[in-house]
């Protein structure tokens, strides 16, 4: 359930998203999405319209639409809410995306833990087939599209779009080399768009309410509203719809958090803000998040928190590339060294430099973002951490 009053994820007077979309031709759908300035809701924030345009421009008679419902980032559970409450819009978003890029098939890559939603989702699909909103000749537009649900195998990295595609193809979930990008060479070598659940729902809503309406929400570079999952030390955790540009302070007030010391924006791989940064905004231009916000109050040991994050990455690295496979181990060992009071400041600096290398030299987003908590916590809480040992 979305806890506060929703503006975007609100079906009042919404109308028929799919019908509105199908009233346009594919190019105009993409144009509308581009004009809305919608950016991907899965974390990376790539402009959705551009992604669709690239896929539409790729020459191929087979194309695919993939909905990324892997939701593996620790502290994120907003896609689960959307899948439970707006399954119709998730699927409609996929169908219209398929129509826009010229795909015939869609997959939902569903997090294994969400398998309890399968029955409901399949019923929804059936309903759509029966009402001619899926299958052959959808809404009489001569467009065929089917959707298949695939269960994920539980690895965090499988949420990364190219590892997801590998996994869909039945291989070990490992990120691919890019370029070429999935929009060009994706599932089975064919053009494929991978988008987050929330991105598809938002796209569907944009179809009904218009791109212009959407751009009125949010900030200059971050249009629209965003779902966030709030967890940690607060009285009212849960999923909220917030406008981009909301400050951390405003957010803390909304979720009734007291004594907050640190806020982890963007999950384990995100940025850990300290209290004098609480006037910073949640947005693509400042602190961006795929949805996860974790709050820590004064009683928390930051080093311990960091240790948990780093253990997670050591565990979840797919092990393909050197910077991530070994780098995360070195960062974790650094945390252990500090715990034992046996890490010099110069070695810490060395590790932060290593983290920076991991961010630019790793093969995929996992290794490129896993040093974030290390760097931010070690920078923002260095004194606190060292004074305690």
């Amino acid at each position: 359930m979305i806890k506060n009053k929703s503006i975007l994820f609100n079906k009042d007077n919404l109308g028929d998203c799919l019908a509105s979309a199908f009233a346009k031709n594919p190019q105009d759908i993409i144009m509308e999405i581009r004009e809305s300035n919608l950016k991907g809701r899965g974390g990376a924030g790539f402009p959705t319209g551009t992604k669709w345009m690239l896929a539409a421009a790729s020459l191929s008679n087979k194309k695919y639409v993939v909905c990324n419902a892997d939701e593996g980032e620790p502290g994120t559970f907003k896609d689960r809410v959307l899948l439970a409450e707006f399954p119709d819009l998730v699927f409609e978003g996929m169908v219209l995306a398929g129509y826009a890029i010229g795909a015939q098939k869609g997959f939902i890559y569903l997090r294994g833990e969400y398998s309890y939603l399968l029955k409901q989702l399949n019923e929804q699909l059936e309903k759509m087939v029966n009402s001619n909103r899926l299958g052959k000749n959808i809404l009489g537009k001569g467009f065929d599209f089917e959707i298949e649900i695939r269960l994920g195998a539980g690895a965090y990295v499988c949420g990364e779009e190219t590892a997801l595609i590998e996994s869909l193809e039945g291989h070990r979930g490992e990120a691919r080399n890019r370029p070429p990008y999935p929009v060009n060479t994706g599932f089975m070598g064919n053009p494929t768009i991978v988008n987050n659940v929330e991105t598809f729902v938002t796209a569907a809503i944009i179809m009904a309410r218009g791109g212009e309406w959407f751009t009125k929400l949010g900030t200059g570079k971050s249009k629209g509203n965003k779902l966030i999952s709030v967890s940690g030390d607060c009285d009212d955790p849960g999923v909220y719809e917030v406008p981009f540009g909301i400050t951390i302070n405003e957010l803390l007030k909304m979720v009734k958090a007291k004594n907050a010391k640190a806020v982890q924006v963007g999950g384990a791989s995100g940025y850990c803000a300290c209290s004098n940064e609480f006037e910073r905004q949640i947005s693509f231009e400042d602190l961006s998040t795929g949805g996860s916000i974790i709050i820590f109050n004064q009683s928390r040991d930051m080093l311990h928190i960091l240790r948990n994050f780093m253990e997670f990455f050591v565990e979840e690295s797919c092990g393909q590339c050197t910077p991530c496979r070994i780098g995360n181990v070195k960062l974790l060992e650094g945390v252990e060294k500090i715990e034992q009071g046996d890490c010099s400041l110069s070695y810490l600096k060395e590790l932060i430099e290593l983290g920076k290398t991991m961010k630019i030299a790793s093969k995929c987003g996992l290794g490129q973002s896993s040093p974030n908590p290390f760097i931010s916590i070690m920078t923002n809480f260095e004194q606190e951490i060292f004074s305690q040992r």
């Binding site: 979840e316 050197t322 630019i360």
Partner: protein, 625 residues
Amino acid sequence: MDKIVKDNRAPVSQKPLVMAKVDKDSIGATVGIEINGNPYKVMLGTTILEACRENNIHVPSLCYHEDLCLAGVCRVCVVEVEGMGTLQAACTFPIINKIKVHTTSEKVRKARRHVLDLMLSEHYGECYSCHRNGNCELQKLAKEYGVDSYRFGHVEKRRYQVDRSSYSVVRDMDKCILCKRCVRTCIDLQEVGVLEAINRGDKTKVTTFMDKPLAEVICINCGQCINRCPTAALKANDPSDEIWNVIDDPSKHVVIQTAPSPRAAIGEEFGLPAGTSMTYQMNTALKMIGFDKVFDTDFTADLTIMEEGTELLMRLKKKLVDGDKNVMLPQLTSCSPGWIKYIEHFYPEYLDYLSTCKSPQQMFGSVIKTFYAQEHEIDPANIVTVAVMPCSAKKFECNRPEMDSSGFKDVDYGLTTRELAQMIREAGLYLPDLPAGNFDDPFGDASGAGLIFGATGGVMEAALRTAYELVTGRTVPFENLDILPCRGFNGVKQASVKLENVKPEWSFLEGVDLNFMIAHGTANAKKVMEALVKGELSNIHFIEVMACPGGCLGGGGQPIPTSPEIRKKRAEAIYQEDAGLPVRKSHENPHIAYIYEKFLKDGPCGHLSHKLLHTHYVKRGKFIG
């Protein structure tokens, strides 16, 4: 069948990168790019690494290998591409627009050094006790980047046990840097697929099915993985200590046979360019090391041609004249022990197609311990036979239990080119400086036909030179005896020779097109076998198969590194030497006539030949251990 020939997988750089379906007309076939501030023109789709190497700009690499598909996992090749937030792996980045690349910026140097530091932190072992010392890509990079300390620590304990179960390949995963070249070699290049990366994160390791010892999985011992491993994680099972022991033992008569390929490559171990032939210097070195006799495996290659050629003609007769349904055609060659193990595992129902001839190495072993022992009145129990081979599978082959037709273990040790080079160094010799020495009698110098066994297509060419002449009484209708359709590195080659005006005893072959195929690398062998299984090869008479890309000259015991270019040079050396030899047909080798006159008196494929020179195979299948 044309399709197999066309689709064949020549082991050159493969690009599974399905290239961006870009509109070539609008951009043009070439792209102008900038590397380190200088302009270059490159073909659309070239990778940054290729572009740099074409233009002599050094970019280090580890997981990249010219023979293999791209991995992009080691990250030492990272470069900066203007406008991109992260560094890019040069080896995998296809150039499709006008990019500006920096190969030595601060970010790049720092990142590469970090990557190296990380690898070294997990790398167990010290270079001075390592057989790749001086020829290790990791060591070389450490030097290049001036590594003078272990910035992120260093492992002090072994994590894995060394797997010495295989006669051919030793695996020491503590030296593995997870570049996965071996995995790609085994699955992509050879299509065997016994190696795979398992687990995740820092527990990732390269291992076999169910983590079994290598001897208990379907490894064909080709050693191609060894040749492409940048470090000492993979090596051949080295018998040189035992060989030194028998050399030093005066009661032992130690003889060595040298295959055609090592001589074309061993110079590389001494810093000579690929393709420098060292045949006669090597003979001298072997004598100086202390081998009692040095024989040329080319002699038994010639013997193989006599036996295998006769076998083929007999099969043709039985099939075409007698209509014998138990005779299988096409006849498949049997001199590559990697190929033998491959077919035993993957096509166990097709072993009857194989020639029953032993490989030249094994033929020689049994001839030495019988004919040679008798002629020289040496007790075969005191003879030790060593074989210098380009091959790691030969080590397994000489240990096959059935290889004892002399009454003893026919070949005691298989020694690779690399291991022999090490022995030569250990003896204090610098090979290129040694004077020429001859092969010893009674086998003496062999024919050029035996020599070209080293290159893919060589067995076929040698067989045709003899068989054609046997049947027609004339030399093969190719200029200078060079049967060019047999040569070159296409994965699968196919050609035919028409038999006309044959001798009366071969009248059933009058007007017959002798159709043959040649495959090298087991990925290509698989293509041929699949066609055979489907019944598409019924008009083919003879197929040569070598397990290794390029044939024996690209064998798993040859000097490291290997590349298409290096293999080409080695082949050139072999063909050049053949062209200059006085005898170039197996049946004209006087020593061959001698052995049939004095010893194998009932002729090729006769009774004694069958006992000593032919063998049988084992239906292994894929599930063993």
